[in-house]
Symmetry: C2
DNA sequence: CATGCCCGTGATACTAATACCGGTATAAGT
DNA sequence: ACTTATACCGGTATTAGTATCACGGGCATG
């Protein structure tokens, strides 16, 4: 085995991640946010639709900056095991 | 052209990113942190050495969680436009 | 009514990230 | 001195992210 073929959990997490970005986008157009983040609109669309479940780190950084949201909040919202009670969890595997 | 072949700036940013992770790792062993993050030691090594300049978002999330550091701080430290003078920058672009 | 523009979408092409395996070097323990 | 452990480095294989191309739907304008 040379590469983990993305587990269904990662796919689901990617969908949550995309839904979060789409919700944060609100009424703004896809091309507007994509241009602000410096990525192509198609890439943003794939991330939002969950077809790119694990985008590059700096791509997410640019998108979060364009949307004005925190990376920690973004990551915490996509964590499958946390319920938001304490917010102190770790070692969850990629 | 279908994909941006990673600019030298992104390479340099990846090196800063890796140096930051290594500094955060401290005296802990590479395999320990990698296991805690759920990634292979080789992957962590490549990220630290800058040979993987733009790792996956959740890989960084897992590493940051294993190292106990904030993603926002990590992203801000890798920003190329800030020199650490004020720490008040909002520029973006990937 | 035809045309062009904006938006979102699907298919395709290409590069990069992840993982595994071999070997090598240095430091520590026995 | 030998072995063990950690880290570095080369190559290889496979999946996945990103960008360009081409298409259809909706709305405004001529």
């Amino acid at each position: 085995m040379v590469r983990t073929p993305l587990t269904p959990e990662e796919r689901a997490r990617g969908e949550r991640f995309g839904a979060l970005l789409r919700a944060a986008r609100g009424d703004r157009s896809m091309v507007d946010v994509a241009a602000a983040a410096g990525v192509s609109a198609e890439t943003l669309r794939k991330i939002e639709t969950g077809r790119a479940p694990t985008p590059a780190f700096f791509t997410v950084v640019a998108l979060a900056a364009a949307l004005g949201m925190s990376l920690d909040v973004l990551a915490a919202a996509c964590a499958p095991d946390e319920g938001g009670a304490d917010g102190q969890e770790q070692a969850l595997s990629a």
